[in-house]
């Protein structure tokens, strides 16, 4: 019982050969169609942002500079809501980068990680995993901004 059956003619599976075999089963990416979808969905989200921003400027007395804060917060709220309802993932399937690149995608990555790890508890699950995907964005953004900010400040000091 439990004798291991060895494949008699074992082909030497080199890395190259494996990639060749695996390539057959990878879905073909339609670059043009994907780009078109990303374009109109991403554009539509930015259009919505522009509409919200103008509403905040016209009706709530924000200026052009300050209006982007409530606009971003509103978009984030909408994205989290849609994530919770399971709609945003469907949009993401269709639009790819079109729904990932706008700030709504950032909110989606936080909310979906939070919801997904809920079963592991609120501290270890939700708290610990919330920035699983968004963390890299924050880390690289902050490091880049820190380096650039220090350079710029030193430059101003010595010139």
């Amino acid at each position: 019982m439990g004798t291991k059956t060895k494949t008699s003619k074992s082909m030497p599976m080199t890395k190259q050969l494996y990639q060749q075999q695996a390539a057959k089963y990878q879905p073909k990416r339609n670059v043009l169609l994907n780009s078109l979808r990303a374009f109109w969905v991403g554009g539509a989200i930015c259009l919505l942002g522009q509409i919200l921003q103008n509403i905040y400027i016209t009706f709530f007395g924000f200026t052009e500079k300050t209006a982007s804060n409530p606009t971003v917060a509103t978009l984030i709220f909408l994205a989290v809501l849609l994530t919770g309802l399971g709609v945003y993932d469907n949009i993401g399937q269709y639009a790819g980068a079109g729904s990932a690149v706008p700030v709504t995608g950032f909110a989606n990555s936080i909310a979906s990680a939070a919801i997904e790890h809920r079963s592991e508890g609120f501290v270890l699950g939700v708290g610990g995993n919330m920035f699983k995907l968004a963390g890299s964005v924050i880390v690289f953004g902050v490091v880049a901004a820190f380096v650039a900010g220090v350079l710029k400040t030193l430059w101003k000091m010595f010139t």
């Binding site: 991403g42 942002g49 984030i76 309802l85 690149v101 706008p102 809920r118 820190f146 650039a148």
Partner: protein, 116 residues
């Protein structure tokens, strides 16, 4: 016209992201990190503010504006308080986005159950 420009420019930034995924075969996390860093760089060389004047929400909604906002907060605080301002000001502008995302994200985890 304002709306059309926001739509087209925002859409084009998303196409750049899509091409990074499809052609350069980067993961979404790599794409987002790349875009954030490019936002910082574009602001560093003084281009991003002109883009905002031109395209409005078309460049403030994509994630590149997160990098722009981080750098902007750092710089404006550094102008008043010197080098320490870089660290104290870095989250000044992005605070709204990050706080909102954390708070709403946590509330969502309270309310919704995972799907699928």
């Amino acid at each position: 016209m304002e709306y059309l420009i926001a739509f087209v420019v925002g859409g084009l930034i998303c196409v750049v992201g899509q091409l990074l995924m499809d052609v350069a075969k980067l993961t979404p996390a790599h794409v987002m990190s790349t875009l954030v860093v490019s936002g910082v760089v574009l602001d560093f060389i003084g281009v991003y503010d002109r883009l905002i004047d031109f395209a409005g929400a078309g460049v403030t909604v994509p994630i590149t504006s997160f990098g722009h906002a981080l750098y902007h907060g750092a710089i404006s605080e550094a102008e008043q308080h010197g080098l320490i301002g870089v660290v104290t000001g870095i989250f000044e502008v992005t605070s709204a986005g990050i706080s909102a995302a954390i708070a709403f994200g946590f509330l969502a985890a309270l309310v919704f159950k995972p799907k699928g």
